[in-house]
């Protein structure tokens, strides 16, 4: 990590960049927050470890509006989001200096907390850290395999390549050990009643906090249609019925063909709703009906929903 800080300091000092967008040490061992560092002095609080799961590309929408370049630390999967934002003219590439930071998968604190309460210290989560993470708590010490504490999304890692970067730092690891569409397929194999029960159960937890939407790099609308008075779609009723479904279906639909499957929605959901299952279903369908497509891989590629062929499948047909 010191190497990264040194490099960032150099970039700030030689004027290549005016500021750095990265992560700042939290007040607990596992809660670093995304932050902007304006000086080498401020960088002393910079941190990059297994808990830096946040995808910083969306914050670049505002950061690249500022004077001068902003250096941003992007993990391989974050770079897909950044490319997609370039495609949609939402970030100014010229004002961005991308450090492709290495990644060996990011940790899910909820998984760690499952059997570790009262945490006081966690070690071994750095990029070059150990296979095992050691957790000290007031109730006793614990140990967990790094790979067992990974975020769900890391099990379907898109690979260790950065899709865009001005320079890279650190080694990456492809942490995929699951079939990307396994969960979707499992649901598809259920009966309609079972699927309905599953989603009802999950979505009944939704508290309409909008964290999924606000963190999503594809949900980059200046004002969401659900906040748009002109559309008359504003709702925050949370009546344990249709509202959440409508919100989540439309949200997934709006990002269909644009969602890079970064998994931020599921990571931030306070109720642990597997929201990526909506997006991944669309991705699976798009792949199947219109040919494989990975949003953010190529900023020039036409999104499948703004494209067509004469021979497209008819709605309702199951290929």
């Amino acid at each position: 990590m010191q190497g990264l800080i040194d490099r960032l300091t150099a970039l700030l000092n030689d004027g290549t960049v005016a500021r750095v967008l990265g992560w700042k040490k939290g007040d607990m061992p596992y809660n670093p927050e995304p932050a902007i560092f304006n000086s080498a002095e401020e960088l002393k609080d910079f941190v990059y470890d297994g808990f830096c799961g946040a995808n910083l590309s969306k914050m670049m929408i505002e950061a690249t509006k500022l004077e001068g370049k902003t250096a941003v630390c992007l993990k391989p999967c974050d770079t897909y989001s950044f490319n997609q934002l370039i495609r949609e003219h939402r970030v100014n590439r010229d004002n961005a200096y991308i450090i492709g930071v290495g990644c060996r998968g990011k940790l899910d604190i909820e998984k760690i907390k499952k059997d570790a309460k009262g945490i006081t210290e966690i070690s071994g989560t750095e990029l070059d850290g150990q296979e095992k993470v050691t957790i000290k708590t007031i109730y006793g010490d614990k140990e967990i395999n790094y790979t067992d504490a990974l975020l769900g999304r890391c099990h379907v890692c898109k690979g260790k390549e950065h899709m865009i970067a001005d320079e890279t730092w650190g080694e990456s690891k492809d942490t995929a050990d699951q079939e990307r569409f396994e969960e979707v397929q499992k649901l598809e194999a259920m009966t309609a009643e079972e699927r309905f029960e599953f989603f009802k159960n999950e979505l009944s937890k939704c508290i309409r906090c909008n964290a999924c939407r606000n963190v999503c790099p594809a949900c980059s609308c200046r004002k969401c249609v659900f906040d748009n008075t002109k559309f008359d779609a504003q709702q925050k009723a949370n009546v344990d019925s249709f509202e959440e479904k409508m919100f989540h279906i439309i949200r997934a639909f709006h990002v269909a063909g644009r969602c890079t499957d970064c998994g931020e929605c599921s990571r931030v959901c306070p109720e642990g709703i597997p929201l990526h299952l909506f997006n991944r279903k669309f991705i699976k369908d798009i792949d199947k009906y219109y040919g494989e497509f990975q949003a953010g891989k190529d900023p020039e590629a036409q999104s499948p929903l703004t494209d067509f062929t004469f021979e497209d499948i008819e709605p309702g047909e199951r290929g």
Binding site: E188, R195, F196, K200, S241, M246, E314, G316
Partner: protein, 147 residues
């Protein structure tokens, strides 16, 4: 949805028809006196590409039991490409509705030209039958839309 005095279920069906082909097809069905159930209520839109998935979900939310989108045949769109986009959008939306456990068949897309009054009527008759067999839409309705 309503239930008539015989206790028979009468579905509420919203049909989005593009102005150029299917709305004209509906007119032709009318002038040819080719009947279909009064359960079908048509909303005129310029093009099937104008149909936002939000309109469809809104209809279900407010109590519709079935939603059908009619447009020009692929290749015949008055605006040349609108129905191609509609086709992709609806393919994905319908698949999603199926995925979250909504009964297959509550939604449908049919391409119907201005000359196909008979097809329009036949389609609506079939769709009404289908929805009647599926019964009331409970999975997509807002609980506040009770009768």
């Amino acid at each position: 949805m309503s239930v008539n005095e015989n206790g028979e279920f009468r579905p509420l069906i919203v049909a989005f028809c593009c102005n150029w082909c299917s709305y004209a097809g509906a007119d032709l069905a009318g002038s040819s006196r080719l009947s279909y159930p009064a359960d079908v209520k048509i909303i005129r839109v310029p093009c099937s590409g104008r149909v936002n998935p939000m309109f469809i979900l809104r209809a279900f939310e407010r109590g519709a039991d079935g939603v059908i989108i009619c447009g020009c045949h692929p290749g015949d769109c008055h605006y040349s490409t609108g129905n191609y986009y509609a086709r992709r959008r609806m393919t994905l939306l319908f698949s999603m509705l199926d995925y979250i456990g909504v009964e297959n068949g509550r939604t449908r897309v049919e391409w119907c030209s201005a000359a196909e009054g008979a097809k329009f009527s036949k389609t609506m008759n079939e769709f009404c039958e289908k929805i009647a067999s599926l019964g009331k839409n409970v999975r997509l309705g807002d609980l506040r839309c009770k009768d």
